[in-house]
Amino acid sequence: MTTKRVERGPGENRGIAGRMFQLFSSFALAIWVLTLLLLITLLGTIAQIDLGLHGAIETYFDPLFLIHWFEFGQPRSIRIPLPLPGGYLLMALLCLNMLCGAIIKARKSWRRPGMLLSHFSIIFMIIAGFVSFHWKREGNIALYEGETSNEFRSYHDWVVEIRDTSPDVSTALVIDQELFRNLAPGDSERTFRHPSLPFSLALSGYLKNTKPSRGQREGLEAEGFFLQKLAPETENERNLPGLVATAKGSSGEFLGSGLLWGGASHGWTVEADNRSFLVKLKRRSWKIPFALTLDKFTRELHPGTDKAKVFLSHVTKTKAGHAEQIEITMNEPLRQDGFTFFQASWGPENAKPGDRLYSVFAVVDNPSDMWPLYSCILVGVGLLIHFLQHLVGHLTRAARRREKTPAS
């Protein structure tokens, strides 16, 4: 068996840069990164019980650093913090480590092509994850039979939309959630202006999950209306945020304030400069380059049970006057113009036979959509070559040993 290996590489004895290279290409770093990644994966998995999937991803896997709290006692009265690197940082370090250690520093030999190939593939896979993390857009379209849409809504991202209600204006301004979701109640408000707007909009008091309150006069308040703070849901898609908006005219005069709530069907109206604007807190939406119509949704059950056998949506895709009929079902999505449409769910849950149903399609626009597949093929080939080389060597040595050792 191999014992401690002497590591030599291009970075040796070359000052700080060389030492840095030595560090980043070392087995020690690889082991530490892999171990910490295993640890945060375990902790992040268990944390999903309390935080939900989205909460755990935001806490453990997306950030550069995190603090994990070990909680003991009833009811969890003792809390011990453990600072840890986050999933993003660990993935970056792993990528760097493999690049330095397994690609640049490693001996390039035809005797070990498998290792080179497989490490390269994993770097490629992590890069695919990086591209997906930063540039993927995902959301859904819910369509009743007969309905048509050409946009999809995000699961998790919210925006404040300001739309001029004049019939001749078709564009709207949006404020991204990154600009207001850290405005906790009690903090100072943040004001937004735009040359096309005759007023400024100040936002404050963002709450992640709220509901309108009639009896309870606490939480967010504006002009006698209240939004009650709720505990965040573990399924992030169910959270309905709320915040307070205040409009001021160009000379700073108060035009009014209102509550923006994610569950509201109508927005808050601001009148300024003889124009009317609708301000709304809504899920971010994106256009798709064609229209999709749900013609028929079929939900087939296993006979005598409530277990779904088939979900099938018959849709019509219309683009530039050309209509095409398509079926979307589980495991058979529609891929079109860089977008992918998946059969995600259906409703209403309590629908009776004959009721009108809606079908929900998950929509994804991911630039690195197929990269993991290519990476998987490469990593499989690489590891297979490497381990087969080892296995053949081992079998050869074992046969030699048997030849040398007389039967006992």
């Binding site: 068996m1 191999t2 088939v310």
Partner: protein, 718 residues
């Protein structure tokens, strides 16, 4: 190699006396053989047992009748198996009648019991429930693990864990229903052990009642009374007539009613509408206001409760014309006798169809006291269902499923693994001898035989389901065990030191034991229909099979590492000797294969997710479990390559990898979160923590061994 060479001198001396048992080895093997055969053999036949029993060929015939349940067509035997398992925790009941005439179910076998006994297989027990419910009520069949559950419902507890008959529980049924309702209303986490037990008991009693009432319509018919009943009904002295005869008489009833009441047709419409749940209150009120109409409504209405009792088993492929309100899924759903009665009542087109099928069941009921007649009636019923099922292409796998359960492949595999283990164990006691070599080959044969039984079982399941080998948690146990044994035999072929062979026998037996226990604890069909997203043979073949192979490799490595740690800790072998070095080589190679399969399996899972849901990686608990296995394997290989782990370190890390795999395999399914909800099961955490505590002991042994070796390396004090 010479196995004696790997033992320290002191140990060799210690082992010498054991050689004396060489002459007794034959006896030992025969005992193991006997134990194995006892697992696989049927028990004795009854003579004149006081409770009703059935002929073996009649039971076989009954078990092969196709029925539809849980969304698929399966043999009656499968229904019987998963009807008895949740009630009693077993697939057969050994029933004894003691000299006082008390009926007992013998939980620990009939050894020491004085009196007549009979073993009721699940098939025979179900036949008894259907045909002789009064006898079935007397047989203790409801297992209660804690007598506090009986106290809760106001009953009379027996031992702490005991088995109760329906007659013993029936007096407390009202309380049982109330307590079950309370427990069901609670949230899962709020229920304590007794709540869960009471709830299970209540559900089991209800299921049992449905089975024993199933043929009530055939037994009692419909009671019309003797007054004011037209002669053409031909009721008996008690005013009863068979349901099929009642349906046959309906046209005459129509003629008769049409003569006496022109409003009959309107009334018939109202009745039909009411059955279909579409009647408005006005039409009901109108029908009740008319005395004559009310009378006929009453007559027709009496059939409904009779029909309602016969809904436990979907026995008949549907009629040519399916009616709305009877079978919501139309032509796909088989009919219960209850459906048959109602369709015969409501739809004239289906009436002959319904009468024919109800007569078949009435004939079975009528023939129950005569063995030959019963066999003939069941044959006719079976032939009818099979003909229709075959025409619909739905029963092609029925006989295969019957043979799967009748073959008891897992029990036989368990027996042969145990034989293999005993025999290979005996070779360790006789190192280097001719007998040892001979026994080595015997143990290989035993393990191969066990593997063959296991593979037959897996293959049969694939053919029955027309699916790859793994579609649910139960099947992962079978597949992982088979893979572990195959890999072990491969390693044995390379190393030929009986290390991997021993591991194959131990892990094989453990896997079979786990599979059998899992089936008992879950007590549900192990071949359920698949949810929509799993209905993809391509992904089941690729992702699921490969990732499960990764589990198998990791568990095999962990199993082998136990041998190393025990060998090192108790100084049974030289750390630098060939034996322990071989173990390390095997573990290292297996972990390499584990990394390959778990990495590819995990990435394939991501590709499936991307293909089906549009996201490659979602940090779902099951995905994270797979990632942890990949990371664990990669850590071990890199630490070994970098010189951070020596042999002992690799083996301790391998055991930790085994713990991670057990968490990924069983633990994450039971966190109550995530998308992979196919594998939720109860009582797993206790077993997992027990297993991890045992692994903790091995890790502790490893640590003490490591500390001991470090002390030896330190220079002596001056």
């Amino acid at each position: 190699m010479n196995h004696a060479s790997m033992l320290p001198a002191s140990n060799k001396r210690a082992l010498r006396p054991i050689h004396r048992i060489r002459d007794r080895l034959f006896v030992l093997i025969m005992l193991a053989w006997g134990a194995a055969l006892s697992l696989a053999s049927a028990e004795d036949e009854p003579a004149d047992f006081p409770l009703p029993t059935f002929a073996e060929d009649t039971i076989s015939l009954f078990s092969a009748i196709p029925v539809q349940e849980g969304g698929r067509v399966k043999p009656m035997g499968t229904v019987a198996r998963y009807a008895l398992l949740p009630l009693s925790g077993r697939t057969s009941l050994t029933v004894g009648i003691d000299p006082e005439g008390d009926i007992r179910t013998l939980l620990k076998g009939k050894r020491g019991f004085e009196g007549q006994t009979h073993r009721y297989s699940a098939n025979e027990w179900l036949l008894l429930c259907l045909l002789h419910p009064e006898a079935a009520h007397r047989i203790p069949v409801f297992i209660v693990d804690d007598s506090d559950a009986i106290v809760r419902i106001g009953g009379n507890p027996k031992r702490k864990r005991d088995i109760y008959s329906y007659l013993e529980l029936a007096p407390f049924q009202k309380s049982l229903v109330e307590e079950t309702g309370k427990a069901m209303a609670m949230e899962d986490r709020a229920r304590n052990r007794i709540d869960t037990m009471v709830m299970g008991l209540g559900q089991n009693v209800l299921a049992y009642q449905q089975l024993t009432a199933f043929l009530t319509f055939a037994r009692n018919g419909i009671t019309l009374g003797t007054e004011d009943i037209p002669e053409f009904f031909n009721v008996d002295d008690d005013g009863r007539l068979p349901v099929s005869a009642f349906l046959q008489t309906l046209p005459k009833l129509r003629e008769d009613a049409a003569e006496t009441s022109p409003a009959y047709l309107e009334q018939a419409t109202v009745t039909i509408e009411r059955y279909l749940g579409r009647t408005d209150s006005e039409s009901i009120a109108r029908s009740r206001s008319d005395a004559l109409l009310g009378k006929w409504d009453d007559v027709l209405g009496r059939i409904r409760p009779v029909a309602g009792l016969a809904s436990a088993i979907q026995m008949f492929p549907p009629p040519p014309v399916t009616g709305e309100g009877l079978a919501p899924q139309g032509n796909l759903e088989w009919f219960t006798p209850s459906n048959a009665i109602l369709t015969g009542l409501l739809f004239e087109n289906n009436r002959p169809w319904a009468i024919e099928r109800l007569k078949l069941l009435e004939a079975v009921e009528a023939a129950k006291t005569d063995a030959a007649s019963l066999h003939a009636a069941l044959s006719e019923l079976n032939a009818q269902i099979r003909d229709e099922g075959a025409a619909r292409g739905e029963i092609s796998q029925i006989d295969r499923e019957v043979s799967l359960y009748a073959g008891r492949y897992l029990n036989k595999a368990l027996a042969w693994f145990l034989i293999g283990f005993v025999v290979v164990g005996s070779t360790w006691l006789l190192p280097g001898s001719q007998t040892s070599r001979l026994l080595g080959w015997v143990s290989v044969a035993a393990v191969v035989a066990a593997l063959a039984y296991l593979c037959i079982g897996i293959g049969q399941r694939c053919l029955i389901r027309q699916r790859p080998p793994i579609t649910n948690l139960y099947e992962t146990i079978l597949f992982i065990t088979a893979c572990t044994v195959v890999l072990s035999l491969f390693m044995e072929w390379i190393n030929r030191q009986r290390i991997a062979l021993s591991t194959a026998a131990v892990l094989g037996a453990a896997g079979m034991f786990l599979a059998i226990r899992f089936e008992v604890s879950e007590a549900t069909d192990t071949m359920p229909t698949l949810i929509a997203v799993l209905r993809s043979n391509f992904w089941l073949w690729t992702h699921v099979t490969v990732i499960t192979l990764g589990y198998a490799c990791g568990l095999l490595a962990a199993g082998l590492s136990h041998i190393y740690i025990v060998g090192r800790a108790f100084r049974l072998a030289d750390p630098q000797g060939d034996f322990l070095k071989s173990v390390t080589r095997m573990v290292y190679g297996t972990i390499c294969f584990c990394l390959l399969t778990s990495l590819i399996g995990t990435v394939l899972g991501g590709i499936w997710a991307n293909y089906s849901w549009g996201r490659f990686w979602g940090w779902d608990p099951k995905e994270n479990g797979a990632l942890m296995i990949v990371l664990g394997s990669a850590i071990i290989l890199h630490a070994r390559l970098g010189g951070y782990f020596r042999d002992l370190g690799v083996h301790m890390a391998s055991i930790l990898l085994g713990i991670i795999i057990s968490f990924s395999w069983w633990g994450v399914n039971n966190l109550g979160i995530g998308l992979h909800s196919y594998g939720f099961t109860s009582g797993v955490w206790r077993n997992l923590f027990t297993a991890w505590a045992i692994e903790g002991i091995f890790l502790f042994l490893g640590i003490t061994t490591w500390l001991g070796s470090r002390r030896k390396l330190k220079p002596a004090a001056p």
